[in-house]
Amino acid sequence: MTVGELAGVLGLEVLTGDTNLDREVRSGYTSDLLSDVIANIGDDAVWITIQRHMNILGVAKLKDVPAIIIPRKLQLEEGFIAKAGQEDIAILRGSASAFELSGLIYNELKRG
């Protein structure tokens, strides 16, 4: 399933235009601790987090994360979104909590 398909089926807002919409998503990881993400996120995994500062983009880039998914419609700074676009990281946002989003994404990916 691609980033675009995932966003479509779960009704997630896409904040970074076309960035990575065609990239494959194979798994996901939910964590707000950066070292935990660095150590444990899989390949082609979306990252669900409430962290929204610039430095998380460094982690996402390092782990080649196709998309960061922000729960609960949390506010984002424009500079953050612009930088994510530049670094080729999609930013998606949903209204559900991190727990609910994780469950929904898990089900979608399991279905293929």
Binding site: L33, L34, S35, A39, Q51, N55, I56, G58
Partner: protein
């Protein structure tokens, strides 16, 4: 993908890291990752090296007043060295323990300071040496060999 380089590239990359300069840590890890991809190294070796650089650089940014990250590419291995001026580490064994952290509340709130940095580095390194003097600073040396059959599984 190669287990060793057929030539000695003599690549040394250096990055200066200032106090609370968190962004540069990600930057230098990304840049080294790109360089190593161009050399054609195995993906899992590159991943381990990138984690070491990121975590070691973050440690400098979080805990030191200034520091330097030096990455040296050899034909069969890569060495990562960080040297900083700062608080130093009182008890290295304790600092190596997963979950132990001396980071401030503000730093933890950003998702740093989980106490996993040094244990992540240890897991990714073939050799790791840390020397520290309280009130002076810390030097970390990590080495990763390009050929390592036992680690293939982590992909």
């Amino acid at each position: 993908m190669v287990d060793s380089l057929t030539y000695t590239p003599q690549i040394t990359l250096e990055f200066k890291i200032g106090e609370k300069d968190f962004f540069v840590a990600g930057e230098c890890a990304s840049r080294v990752k790109k360089t190593l991809q161009q050399l054609g190294l195995k993906q899992n070796v590159i991943k381990r090296i990138a984690i070491i650089i990121y975590e070691a650089a973050m440690n400098v940014a979080i805990h030191a007043t200034s520091g330097m990250v030096t990455v040296h590419v050899e034909p069969d291995a890569i060495t990562i060295r960080t040297e900083d001026v700062g608080a130093g580490i009182e008890d290295i064994d304790l600092a190596m323990k997963e979950g132990y952290s001396t980071a401030t509340y503000e730093i933890r709130e950003m998702g740093f300071g989980a106490g996993m940095g040094l244990s992540n580095i240890k897991q990714c390194s073939d050799d790791l040496k840390i020397e520290s003097k309280v009130g002076v600073g810390t030097t970390l040396n990590a080495k990763v060999y390009f050929q390592d059959q036992t680690r293939q599984a982590d992909g």
